[in-house]
Subunit: 456 residues, 2 copies
């Protein structure tokens, strides 16, 4: 093999899990332009919602080329999809879901986290050792995710390699761009759902990565130590090396529940806070290790500072935090400090995969935070939760979640005519109403990185 060929292989290696960035896609594809017409809404900043009525959203090679009132020169021949009075918004990002839990959405809602894991979650996840069962469960999960407003998601599978690969296949078929993680767990769970050793867990993870190499265009792997109580120090150390080797992103859980936090302190007496227990193994943010931490309900000053320093993304999951009686995360404080915050459904601590519902819940939870915990923390606004659901969470995927130029074009077209009202509504009012009232019947069309998803 000559030098040039070798270089090409190395290049491919670095990008091998990237799912094909837009630069990569350009080669060999003919340039494709089109425009979507409607009332266009998108965030630029956490408190800034742009609304452009009767405008064109320009798309070229899967990327946004701006939002304009009139088609510019050179676009006159481009296809225009006119969605009339529909709203067009960026696709929503779900930063935290558990695919094998989807089957019990809205069930067992009378337990706290640790009890719920033991009685509801672990017995069900264990079933995903059976590929036939996984096929049933993941088909339902993927079909439903496709029907909603979500275009990007970061998803926990179970510890099972074959089922994880099956899940990735199902999701690849949907056309969504998602990250999926085979879960690592080698302690504190029942025999039916625990890897034999740190070594075995690492080996299974490497097998998984090898199996899927180059296989998917849209679905990427993400390293997924379940949470500190499920992972021995040795496993964390091994995963850390694997992370440094591959550059893969990481997702896990942080400071969700008081019992859990006390447990982590016992398990890692050397840690200065729960976040430090990840940071110790270099799996807590940093540019070389993009990380999502779900929940952060009880993150204190020190933990928030560490998240800020490392650039961790927080997946705020208000519905789950309510269902599992965890509490309410200090989101206003996250925003004040300029932390990266997106939303997570946490299916199925959260009982729905609708990020619209999670947006409404984030507002509601912030009101209870204001009322019951700290009246200096103003409730979240529609603008802020819309930002979190789009650009805030989307940024974990790169330039995703907005219609600014150069963003990948993920768009959802919303037809709210069935949500009848005698009032004349502004576009902002319609958008607010959609967050509170809509379901999959309002999704008229959906695009991911410029490709239209077939909804039926």
């Amino acid at each position: 093999m000559g030098k040039v060929a070798l270089f090409a292989v190395v290049f491919y290696d670095v990008k091998r899990y990237s799912g094909g960035g837009s630069t990569g896609q350009r080669k060999g594809r003919k340039m494709k332009r089109f425009a979507l017409k409607g009332h266009i809404c998108y965030s630029t900043h956490p408190d800034r919602l742009e609304i452009r009525e009767n405008s064109y959203l320009l798309c070229e090679e899967g990327e946004c080329r701006g939002v304009v009132k009139e088609l510019p020169q050179g676009w006159k021949e481009a296809e225009v999809k006119d969605y009339g009075t529909c709203l067009i918004i960026p696709g929503l990002t779900d930063l935290h879901m558990h695919a094998p839990q989807y089957g019990f959405c809205g069930m067992g809602m009378d337990m706290e986290l640790l009890q719920w894991l033991e009685h509801q979650v672990f017995p069900e996840e264990a079933k995903y050792a059976d590929l036939e069962y996984a096929e049933k469960g993941y088909r339902i999960f993927a079909e439903n995710l496709k029907k909603g407003a979500t275009t990007r998601a970061c998803i926990f599978s179970s510890l099972h390699v074959p089922a994880t690969e099956l899940l990735m296949e199902k999701l690849e078929e949907t056309g969504l761009k998602v990250m999926v993680g085979k879960v690592n767990m080698d302690r504190n769970s029942p025999d039916i759902l625990r890897e034999e050793s740190a070594e075995a867990s690492e080996a299974a993870t490497r097998q998984w990565l090898k199996d899927i190499e180059g296989k998917f265009k849209r679905v990427q792997p993400i390293l997924t130590p379940r949470f500190i109580p499920s992972c021995t120090d040795e496993l964390m150390e091994r995963l850390s090396h694997l992370q440094q080797e591959t550059g893969l992103p990481v997702q896990s859980h942080l400071s969700e529940n008081l019992g859990e936090i006390a447990w982590v302190k016992e398990l890692c007496p050397w840690s200065s806070c729960y976040g430090d227990a990840y940071d110790h193994f270099r799996m807590f943010g940093t540019e070389q290790c993009k990380t999502i931490m779900a929940h952060c309900v009880y993150s204190d000053d020190q933990e928030m500072e560490l998240m800020k320093k490392r650039g961790v993304w927080i997946a705020h999951c208000p519905l789950s935090n309510e269902n599992l009686a965890s509490g309410i995360a200090p989101v206003r404080e996250f925003l004040n400090r300029g932390l990266n915050v997106g939303l997570g459904s946490d299916v199925s601590g959260g009982n729905t995969d609708s990020i619209f519902r999670v947006m409404a819940d984030a507002v509601q939870a912030s009101k209870m935070y204001w009322r019951l915990i700290d009246q200096t923390k103003k409730p979240l606004t529609l603008e802020e939760v819309f930002y979190m659901a789009t650009k805030g969470g989307g940024s974990f995927f790169g330039n995703v979640g907005s219609f600014e130029e150069g963003y990948e074009l993920d768009a959802v077209v919303l037809d709210d005519r069935a949500l009848k009202t005698p009032m004349d509504l502004t576009v902002r009012q319609r958008l607010e109403r959609i967050c509170y009232l809509s379901d999959d019947r309002q999704i008229a069309a959906k695009y991911v990185a410029g490709e239209e998803i077939r909804l039926v």
Copy 2:
């Protein structure tokens, strides 16, 4: 007029607004028997959910005659509607809704109660002076209420007599059995939504009652002083006399928001608590004056004791209390004390008319109460919220909300096959899931007092 005739008139007077009880209906109607077959779920006590799989729910003359495994003698010829594996539950009761607010469900969700009334509610309600506008708004409201799982509701109209009568007509057409109140308000609201005087408010109310006398079979009037801040002492006094004269039930608001409570104390310095401000005018429970009070978020020991003594029904509206940042009502304490508690959507402080959603929210809110306010107050169970949504709220209408013998047969048939899962579920699990996940697509059939409602 002879003595007997006079007696008959008086009797009719007392019953004139009753919408025809089952005794009244028996006359002249031929006896009608049928049975519904499926998995039957109903409450007998707050913590007791009866589940009878593959059973028959017997209905005769609009009343329940029991739930049985085999059809008894005499029922062999009765029509059997076999709903297969569907769940059959009592119709749900919504103890608190505002019909003219339905148009802005899920909008303006960034204000507290008093600000929201001023900026969102009052300007919109004022539009119901225009019958053409009311026709649009109330058609939508009635159509949607009909489509859901609610069979009984207590509804605020606006202060306008013609629009209130129109609303009653629209609701009569749905086949639901509901109570509707023309709102009374003669102070502390803008000119466009305030009656000129206590006298004028009373006169309008009497006109309304005269207009509708004998007009409706299913829709009944209910006296509706908006809340203490909207009603002068003189108006309360006049309504109290009208109540004693007619025996009509009463609905209003109580202890929803801290600013409101402070205001009531200013307006009625003589009152020992907010509830006492109603009780002073004899419009707070009692056998002669059945009363619903919505919210009761801040009811203290004294107010709860008074509600218990008088037999007030509490309409617990957790979603509204969250949306308007009011707080969380101490529902566990209401139950411990044996108070009458039902659920209210409070459209549109609450952003949906789905009582299933309100059931889930009641559980969620009770978890936040437990977590953030008082850890001696155990979160609500599925059994408890199901009871509140059926028998608890239904009891305001008499023997309504259960399938015990002699109860009016309000039933909802639920087809949850579209809520897919790979798991095999028990009937209780399916019921819990329906509370969290269902929408009107799961309503397969609906019966009110033995009459089937045409859903499409």
